[in-house]
Every structure is written in C-alpha cells, then in structure tokens.
C-alpha cells in the first residue's frame, strides 16, 4: 500500500500562538464597553412560579435590559421541543434560568439579579430515575403530549422522554432453550462533567438588523437554529461565528447560553457577553448522564451467545436533549461487538428534576461498554470460560449481524485482539510493580461509530499558488482544522500544507455542518473538502488543457505544477494555470458536500432510533493492568495498552495525542470523577476542589498500536480517532479491578471507599429492581 500524500505528522499551526497566550478564545474577546449578562437561576428542583417581579432589577445601577420567558417564547429540543430558554410557569430543575440581566459590569448585573422578587411554590420533585418511574410519580412535564415532535418514531409516556427498541430474532425462544445458560448483571454509573477549561461563553450583538453571535461552541448551526427557534425569528436573521474553542468534549454540542446573549443584545442594541463562571459552568453542566443497566444473556453449549436482552435507563435530567438521540446508541454499543443470535434492547431516556445532561466524548458508549464487558466477564466467571478465548470466539467478524440487522464488513475485532496480545508481548507486564497489592489485568473490546452527517466545504485556489478552505468546522483542540484539513486539501491539489488557509467557522460563509463531535470532523469535512478539490481540479485541468494542448484527463497535479502525466516536466506552474483560468473562464473554486450514505439495517428491527445502522463503525481493544491496595482501596493503573481502529491514520502523531488524552479522561471517569445529586437536586461537585479531574501524577503513558485497513467510507479510508479513545477505559479498569479483587464490579467510579466496600463485602449487592 503506497502512502497517500495526505499522510504526514503535520505540526499544529495554532501551537505557537497557543503557547504564547496569543490565541483569543471567546472568553478573551470581551472588550471594554461590552455589556455583561448574568442569569438568575431557580434554587429549587420543582415548583410553580407564583411571582417574578423584575421591576426592582430594572432600577438597579448600570442595568440596561432584563429578559424573561416573554422575550424568548420558542421551545427547542432534540426529537421533541420540550425546552424553553427561561422557565415561565414551571421550574423543572435547580439551576433553571428564570431571568437574564445585561448591565455595564458583571458585578452590576449580578447585583441586579439579587433585587428580583421570586416566589416559587414547591412541587414534589423526582430526583432519581427510580423515583421518576415509580407508580404515581410526579410528572416532570405535565404537558408532554402537547410538545412539538421534531423526529418521529419514539415512544413517549409521562416521565419517559423517549424509548428506543431493538428486537431481532427469537429472543424468548433462545432464553427458553433447555441447554441455554443464563447470566444476568446490573450496573450503575454516575455523571461525568466534561470540564473544558474554557467555559461556555457567548458574545452577541445586532448588526444590520441581524443577530450575530460569537461563541465557544461545537455546533454553530445548532446555535443558529436554536437561537432562531427560541427568539421566534427566521434562521436567516442569525449569524454564528466560532473562534478557537478551549475544549468541549461534547458539552458544547448543544446551545445553552448563546440565545441568552442574543436576547439581551436585541433588547439593548448593544454587544453583550455571557460567560459562565466555573461554579455556574459546573452546576449547569450537560454531563455524561447517570445510567442504570440490566443485561441478560443466554449462552449456548458451544459458548455462543444465543440471545441478549438489555434495558438501559438514561437520566436525561429535566429536558430530553442529547439523551433522546443517544437512546439510539445502545443498539450499536451493546449489539455491535459480539455475535448475537437474537437481541432485545430497550433504552429509555428518563426525565428527572435534575440539571439536563448532554453529550460527552463517546457518550453512553462509555458506560454501555463498561456494562457489556463486565457482563462478559461475569459470563466467563459463571460458566468457566477463559476471558480472552470467549472474546475471540464471539466478537463480530465479516458478514456478521449487528443488533439492528446491519451487516458488518471485514474481520476487525478478531485481528485487533491478536494485535493487543502482540502489543502486550512487546510492552511486557508491569505485574512486578504491584508488589504486595492485588494485581489484575483485563482486555476489553468496544464498538463506537463515526457520527457522519452533513458537512460542506468550499476550496478557492489562488493565482499565487495558495488555497483557502471555507467550512463551518470548529477547532476545539482535536486538530482537524489545523492538521487534517490542510493535509487533505494540500495533497489533493499538490500543494504544501503551509499554502492552505482554513477559515474559522462562520455560518454566513460556509454551508451546513452538523458540528464538531462524534469523531466526525475529519471524516465529514475531509470528504466534503475532497469533493470540493475534485471540482477545483476539473476547472484547473480544463484551463490547463487549453494552455498545454492536452486532454484534461491526461493531466496531474505535482508539486505546484499541472503536468501531462505521461511526460514529466511537460506542463505549467499552477500559478500560471490559475491566472489563465482567471482571465479566460473565471477564478478557480469548488464546493463539495458530504452526508451519511445510510447503511441498511434489517427492516422492522429498530423503533425510535435516529440511526438504524452505523455508517462507520470504530473498534477498540484496551488492555489494562492495575494494582489494588487492600488496605486503602486505592487503584493504581500499572500499564495501559490500546489497539485502535483508525481506518487510515492521516496524522499518526496527532492521533497518539488524542489517544493519550482520551484514555486519561477515561481514567478520571473510571476512578475518581464522581458527581452526586443532593436532596435539593443540585450537583454537589461544582469546582475543581470537589470534582477531581486527573492530575499529572494520575496519568499513565499509553502504549498504542494503530490498526489500519478496516473498511471505511471516510476520506482516504480514515475514521475519526479523537472521540473513541475514552470508550473502553471504564470497562478495562473495572474488569481489571474485578480480576484483582475477585469481586463483582457493578459501579463506577472506583473510588477508594467503593473499592474498600467491595473488598470487605460491606456494601449490599446492586439490585436495580426498577430496571
């Protein structure tokens, strides 16, 4: 296989500014003279607003505008439009916005919030999914039947915001077989806070009658459409631009405070900044949701999986948001890694009176993989299979069916397991470092996907031999905009990457894009840019054909020249060809689009799914060694190896950086990032003192083997590589701790008290009767 020109370890072009403090993130663009917005939030989890008197706030010093629900009448959501910008009559979570104030200074805006008179009559709150699903439970959205449906097909009922179901094959018959051995497990995980260093921030102003928003977002087009919806104005009246983003990890995959800035800008006619402080950012974080999971499997005499049943309850919080969409992903994360004779998977997004949850790097894949792999090890323990052997026998291969009847292409997971063993041979075992502590090791598999969808790219080729690329992609730190896109466009046009400029996101300049997330950016923007380059080449070759007296199909681009393929040296510099085209037929530019091709599933298998099949599956194998201190319950990760399916590594060095970062974020989830909800429905952990993200001393170096060559429709066979490294970290650590301790590990994170509880058998076994 020859290496495509696009493959290289291109350094990041934004690094020099970033290490010198010159990069202006949204939070750095709040200039003197800009008004400051602040948000009054409910301090109870459920209630009826009896009085909301904002007149005293209007009279406070420096106040320029006060906004309430009356100023933002529309509702937004995913699947169902259930979410207002400000609460009007009902409060559904502690922290829900009630009023926003714009003032000359932030201190004045916050002082004005204090002057607002609020009376809320308390209602009984449901703070857990168990409470929300209990018979006679208070209903979080009494008017749920009247909400506008944005996507058809999901069952909804009371506190159940959305249900996704999969049923393939004769599940009940398989469980009823006399030779079937049945293993059942339950699991529970808490929330995880993305904790990007730049909080959600937005600057809005009115220019030429339109709303212009500059914000720290992964989804400029969602900000545009949600702002238009809630303000009840046409989408064409909103422009969204996004400078470099200081981390997102999925938190910024939805609109939250951006429309608030827009409302205040409209009321004042001035530029308004809304920037979350750290406490607000964490208290209203759209976390990876807490979940309760039950999995049952029927195992046949040959160790094959005859059938699997699972129920996954995902806590949406007070509004459906991403969890409605993510119900879809159970099918692919619980049913996309092992061959299942039959499958019945039910996933429910459940409303509670708690802060809404959102998307976080590999989303529910992270805990579904934890649950699946712990369940797999429980099957092995109960039935006496060797863990690696059971996996080798049962992982999906070429032509096997996923849960929804999708046919998977290629043998990928099997060879990856072999590569993981080879990698372990090379790295060796760190068992000796465990000393007197309990040693454990686990190898886990995981399946995730690339969230393909619409992207657009326009490429302009200039007479100086440079190109500019216009998209609405966002650089959130993953490198797509500063590495992958320049590499791809440069290779397609025979330029050096330094000659390719990439425009930052602007919805007035670039076409539709689904956003940066789901490992899609390099794939979707890369494919759209390749299509744009094809048009550029066509125009260029037409112009060159005339100039060189050759046929267009005889021409190639080589090192800044258009040449006749068969006659190296016979041609003209690109600059000359572009100048010729500019004079004769017009400047050279091309546009390209990309969207998901829609891989087929088996008709009738899936209900309530936003995606019935995954267009680009991504597989991972993680191999962890741990030492557990029996005296303290502390878990040390001794070594961490990863084999990751990347399709084609466009920038191997950058991928290594993503894998190291993703694994360490996953170690936080597995070991110490814990969020609990107090009796008032608030998250208790709202700063870095109480919410412990990994420190340098917690990190372990990750040994990585990039698995290339698995089928992919991505550009040059690439797959997204930045999202998936976190996927099976919780699984690998939990399985390794179970191996070390001989105990059933059913919950994450594995904090020292929880591990001590397991070791000393003092905590009751998890039951989850409500699932």
């Amino acid at each position: 296989m020859t290496r495509p020109a696009a493959v290289m370890d291109l350094p990041r072009r934004d690094a020099a500014d970033k290490v010198r403090g010159r990069t202006l993130y949204t939070t750095d663009r709040v200039r003197p003279g800009v008004l400051h917005g602040a948000i009054l939030r409910a301090t109870v989890p459920a209630g009826v607003i009896r009085k909301l008197d904002v007149a005293p706030a209007r009279a406070m010093p420096g106040v320029r505008a006060v906004a309430t629900a009356a100023d933002a009448p529309g509702m937004h959501g995913i699947g169902v439009a259930d979410h207002p910008l400000f609460a009007s009559d009902r409060v559904r979570y502690n922290g829900e916005p009630l009023v926003a104030v714009a003032a000359d200074t932030e201190a004045q805006a916050r002082a004005a919030l204090e002057a607002i008179l609020v009376e809320i009559e308390l209602l009984p709150a449901v703070l857990t999914m168990e409470a929300a699903l209990a018979p006679g439970a208070p209903i979080v959205h009494e008017g749920w039947k009247d909400y506008e449906t944005l996507f058809e097909g999901g069952e909804r009922e009371g506190n159940i915001a959305w249900v996704a179901r999969v049923e393939r094959g004769a599940v009940d018959a398989a469980f009823a077989r006399p030779d079937a051995r049945i293993v059942e497990s339950v699991f529970r995980v808490g929330r995880q806070n993305q904790a990007p260093f730049e909080p959600r921030s937005a600057l809005a102003e009115i220019r030429d009658g339109r709303v212009e928003i500059e914000c720290s977002s992964q989804v400029p087009w969602t900000v545009r459409s949600v702002t238009a919806r809630v303000l009840a104005i046409p989408e064409s009246q909103v422009r969204v631009t996004v400078p470099p983003v200081g981390g997102g990890f999925g938190l910024k995959f939805d609109a939250t405070i951006e429309p608030v800035a827009a409302v205040l800008a409209r009321l004042t006619g001035r530029a308004v900044a809304v920037v979350n402080n750290r406490q607000e950012e964490m208290a209203t974080c759209l976390c990876r949701e807490n979940a309760d999971i039950r999995i049952r499997s029927a195992i046949g005499p040959e160790g094959e999986i005859l059938a699997r049943e699972a129920t996954v309850l995902m806590d949406a919080g007070a509004y459906g948001g991403e969890q409605v969409f993510l119900t879809t992903m159970t099918a692919h994360t619980l049913g996309g890694n092992y061959r299942l004779g039959a499958a019945r998977l039910v996933t429910k997004a459940v409303y509670t009176n708690t802060p809404p949850n959102g998307a976080f790097r590999a989303c529910n894949g992270v805990y579904n993989t934890f649950a699946l792999e712990r369940h797999t090890d429980e099957i092995c323990a109960a039935l006496g299979y060797e863990r690696m052997e059971f996996r080798r026998r049962n992982v999906l291969g070429d032509g096997d069916l996923g849960a929804t009847g999708q046919v998977f292409e290629g043998d990928v997971l099997g060879p990856m397991l072999a590569r993981a063993e080879a990698l372990r041979e090379r790295t060796g075992s760190a068992k000796a470092k465990a000393g007197n502590r309990l040693y454990g090791r686990a190898v886990t598999v995981g399946t995730w996907f690339v969230f393909v969808g619409p992207s657009t790219s326009t490429v302009n080729l200039h007479a100086d031999g440079s190109a500019s690329v216009v998209t609405t992609g966002v650089e959130i730190g993953s490198g797509t905009m500063v590495q992958a896109l320049p590499q791809i466009v440069a290779a397609e046009l025979g330029l050096s990457p330094e000659k390719v400029a990439v425009r930052q996101a602007d919805t007035d300049a670039g076409g539709l894009d689904m956003g940066v997330g789901g490992g899609r950016t390099t794939v979707s923007l890369g494919a759209a840019s390749m299509a744009a380059c094809a048009e550029v080449r066509r125009k260029l070759f037409d112009a060159a054909a005339e100039l060189l007296q050759a046929r267009p199909e005889e021409l190639v681009l080589r090192e800044g020249r258009v040449e006749v393929a068969a006659r190296p040296g016979a041609g003209a510099p690109l600059t000359e060809v572009v100048a010729h085209a500019q004079a004769r037929t017009g400047p050279v530019s091309g546009s390209g689009g990309f969207t998901r091709p829609g891989v087929p599933a088996m008709p009738g298998c899936a209900a309530g799914h936003f995606i019935d099949a995954i267009d680009i599956p991504v597989f991972c194998v993680h191999d962890a060694e741990v030492a557990v201190d029996p005296e303290t319950g502390h878990v040390e990760v001794l070594s961490y190896n990863v084999v990751q399916d990347v399709g084609r590594a466009l920038n191997p060095r950058a991928i290594r950086g993503q894998v190291q970062g993703g694994v360490v974020q996953g170690l936080g989830y597995a070991l110490h990032e814990e969020i609990t909800i107090d009796e008032e429905g608030r998250m208790r952990q709202v700063n870095f003192e109480s919410y412990r993200i990994p420190l340098a001393g917690d990190a372990v170096p990750v040994a990585l083997d990039l698995y290339e060559g698995a089928p992919s429709i991505g550009p040059l066979g690439a797959k997204g590589a930045g999202e998936v490294p976190i996927l099976n970290v919780g699984a690998a650590i939990a399985c390794a701790v179970a191996d070390a301790t001989g105990r059933k590990v059913s919950q994450l994170p594995l904090t020292p008290p929880r591990v001590l509880g397991l070791l000393r058998g003092r905590d009751p076994e998890l039951r989850l009767d409500h699932v």
Binding site: D28, G477, A696
Partner: protein
Amino acid sequence: MTVTLRINGDLRSFATDPMRPLLDLLREDCLLTGAKSVCREGFCGACTVHLDGAPVPSCLVPVGLVGDREVTTIEGLGLAGEASDPLQQAFIAEDVVQCGMCFPGMVMSLGPFIAAHPGASAEEIRQAMTGNLCRCTGYERIVEAALTALGAPR
C-alpha cells in the same frame, strides 16, 4: 485607590479596588488575556504569572499586595519575537498542544522549574505540574517535551 504596578517592564497606574484579583486587572484593564480565567480558586494554574520571576496563580493575588514586585505575563516572555523559550519550542515541535487553554500557565509554571532543575526527572516534572491541570492531553507529552527542553536523553 490607585495601584501602580510594573507589568512586562512597563510602569502603569490603575484606579481600582486593591482586593481585585491580579488576573482580572491583567485581562480586563491591560487586555493581557494570555493568563486564562479557568477555576479562579488556585487549583488549575491556567492564570499563572511571575512575580519577580516566581510563578503564582494570579487569581489569588490581590492587586494591592503585588507591591513593587515585577509582574511578568506569558505575553512578556520573549516579547515580540518567535517563541524562544526552549519549553515553548518543545511544546510546538512535539505536537503537545490541543485546546491550548492550559498552556500559557504550563509555560509559566514549568519554565522556572526546569531552569532551576536542569537535571529533573520525569517524575520530578510530574510533581512540579501538580498545580497545573490539563483536560485534553493526558499530560505525558507535556512531560516528554519538558525533558526535551532540558536536553535530557529520551
């Protein structure tokens, strides 16, 4: 009250509250936004500046207590030219940066440490980074780049 500070070599006076965090004065009054406002509680290190060459989290320093100490921000390192600091060069060359929000603070904290500890080990560098959080990178490349900046064999 009036507070007079020497910032990146310039003597400047500000009419401000002496209890105001130095971070806010730098970002809002001087538009020196290289120091990042992330946790504002001294946990993350993203706002680190030098006072007389010593790294401090500027969110915890009231402007009234700076006195006549020289304030150096990330913008004051290497001033106009290219990033000449070996640590910055290693961060760029080794593709260490991701979102970048923590890096000005990393440079301000680790720079003086490696200058004072030319023989530092990876473990000592990790310990020196305890006050600087990073959410993107998983730290290892930062440690490796710091070793490169020290000219340590790898």
